[in-house]
């Protein structure tokens, strides 16, 4: 258990809790001694090896340093002697590839550095907690020497103390896990690199930031599943794309599950369009000229959340939302679909929203959250943040006292969660505020439900 695996720490916590219950006068002496012996065995080998974690941190830091140098050198190559005497389409593509590689290596260097710091912090926490555990282990060993009730009290206090340390160990392991998961989600080039997408294409696509990790993986999987003739048609479309952004949107349409026929038609519409046009038409959250989609009806936050979720995953659908009238009509269509029984004036139910989303590929489940009950929000936070780190979007139901408003979790950057609010804004909320039930920045205080991918 090098880093204090949360599952194993959880098991130890359960056993310590059970032992704490046994150590009282209501139980027989053999039972109590057995419990004390079991706890002593747990404390003999505390979870997590700080030296090993520190060694892992050092490995991340060493790689981060090498990547920083490699990024700089790749930059020199990208602008160096050969590109200076070589021009034309292939040269342009080559230079773009090298620059994208340089940028991604630079980002990877930062990611490795962050991982190193997370592990450094974790090693330090392990050392501190191990020292505290030493104290409780000594107390427990001494407790056996005392007779009667004094032994009970000392043993009970030692076990309770050890339990507290194990709970803090669990928290530290969870924090490490969350941080690492966010870093993992930033690795993208490898997700699309396949028989159909060479390394050069993978780094250029990852460099656009248009597809999330899960979309890149789905695009690669869907490309692999194409027939030989469809694969050739798709290859031709990708080769014909004028810019990397255009190519990325074609693959995003593939990731959304569209047929090659539909993508051919889509390609005809977007072919040759500039990056501003593509962003304005295909990104529902493009900040350009107030393009951010917003709800028209005050009871349609759920409908708008569904619309934006779909549009963020499907550029062909996003393209269809090209006017205020169409957005308004789509909002109403979705509201009609989700509220066949439930009155529309009461908004969208979580099950209505989930059912509608499940018609378009990714399958979701919803779960109620009571952020006034300890332990209810943490699993929800875990599921929501884990999904967004993987590249999904997550509808979140918030309210004051009762559910009132849907917002969409669209990103996780450091300790902050990025939300799209159907009122037409993008707002950041700290993980701590989400966990503590303070969503005031989004208009309502409490988290009351999350809709996460299965």
């Amino acid at each position: 258990m090098t880093s204090g695996d949360p599952w194993q720490v959880s098991t130890a916590i359960l056993r310590l809790r059970r032992a704490a219950e046994l150590v009282n006068p209501a139980h027989s002496l053999p039972e109590i001694l057995q419990a004390v012996t079991e706890v002593a065995a747990i404390l003999r080998e505390p979870p997590g090896d700080p030296d090993a974690v520190e060694a892992q941190a050092a490995a991340f830091h060493a790689l981060a340093a090498l990547l920083a140098t490699t990024s700089m050198d790749t930059g020199h190559i990208a602008t160096g002697p050969v590109p200076r005497v070589w021009e034309g389409e292939a040269a342009t593509a080559a230079t773009a590839t090298l620059k994208a590689t340089r940028d991604l290596i630079e980002q990877a260097s930062a990611a490795m550095r962050t991982a190193g710091h997370l592990l450094d912090d974790h090693a330090e926490t392990l050392r501190r907690l191990h020292k505290q555990l030493d104290v409780h282990r000594t107390d427990l060993a001494q407790a056996r020497r005392f007779p009667g009730i004094r032994m009970l009290v000392k043993a009970f206090l030692a076990i309770r103390g050890a339990l507290g340390v194990f709970e803090r160990l669990h928290g530290a392991a969870e924090q490490l896990r969350r941080g690492m998961r966010e870093i993992e989600g930033r690795a993208q080039a490898g997700a699309i690199h396949s028989t159909h997408v060479p390394a050069s294409g993978a780094v250029r696509l990852a460099g656009t930031g248009i597809l999330t990790a899960i979309q890149l993986k789905r695009a690669a999987a869907n490309l692999d599943a194409l027939s030989t003739s469809d694969a050739a048609r798709m290859r031709a479309l990708l080769d014909d794309a004028v810019t990397e952004a255009e190519r990325a949107y074609l693959l995003k349409a593939m990731a959304a599950g569209h047929s090659v026929d539909a993508i051919v038609s889509f390609a005809g519409t977007i072919h040759g369009q500039g990056s501003v046009w593509l962003d304005r038409r295909l990104n529902p959250l493009s900040g350009d000229e107030g393009r951010i989609v917003r709800q028209f009806d005050e009871t349609a936050c759920g409908s708008t959340t569904i619309m934006v979720t779909r549009a963020m995953n499907d550029p062909i659908y996003a393209l269809s939302l090209d006017s205020e009238e169409r957005i308004r009509a789509e909002e109403q269509r979705i509201h009609d679909s989700t509220n066949r029984v439930w009155p529309q004036r009461l908004g969208t139910t979580p099950w209505g929203l989930t059912g509608e989303l499940n018609r378009y590929g990714t399958q979701y489940d919803w779960r109620a959250v009571d952020d006034t009950v300890a332990g209810s929000v943490n699993p929800a936070l875990e599921a929501a943040v884990g999904a967004v780190d993987a590249g999904h979007t997550v509808p979140v139901l918030i309210g004051d006292g009762y559910p009132k408003h849907f917002v969409l979790l669209i990103g996780h950057e450091g300790g902050e969660l990025v939300f799209y609010n159907p009122s037409g804004e993008v707002t950041r909320v700290s993980e701590a505020d989400f966990r503590d039930g303070n969503m005031s920045a989004l208009g309502y205080r409490h988290v009351q439900g999350v809709v996460t991918p299965r």
Partner: protein
């Protein structure tokens, strides 16, 4: 007469190849340091980034091979393995870009089409720009 600094091309190819090799070695050391026992979340980062690093290494190695291939072609063209081409019309090399496409890197005098090195038109231009390599 075209002058191409083959040694400079060679140095460039070697430098790029070394960059790719250094990256590959560093990633291998990093992976070795993260063998079990290791937290599952750390393993997940290792596995996800290993694929990314593999793509970056492939890009660098392809580029190094391209430049090396160009150098070899020049050497073949120049039978005396010197840095001077006596026949401009034969002076061409194919560069395979990291993007996978191939284009002819050639003397303007010898190629009616294809990309040509930048610089002043004509043999003098090639001499000038190729010398920068």
């Amino acid at each position: 007469m075209i002058h191409v600094d083959l040694e400079a091309l060679d140095r460039q190819a070697r430098a790029i190849a070394a960059l790719g090799d250094d990256l590959r070695d560093a990633v291998a050391r990093w992976q070795d340091a993260l063998t079990d026992p290791c937290a599952p979340s750390v393993r997940a980062v290792r596995d996800a980034y290993a694929k990314d690093f593999s793509a970056y290494t492939e890009v660098l190695c392809t580029w190094a091979d391209s430049v090396r291939a160009a150098t070899c072609t020049y050497r073949t063209t120049d039978n005396e393995a010197a840095t001077t081409f006596t026949s401009p019309t034969d002076a061409s090399a194919t560069l395979t870009s990291p993007a996978g496409a191939q284009e002819t890197f050639t003397s303007p005098a010898g190629a009616p089409h294809g990309d040509r090195p930048t610089g002043d038109p004509g043999v003098t231009g090639v001499q000038a720009s190729a010398s920068r390599l």
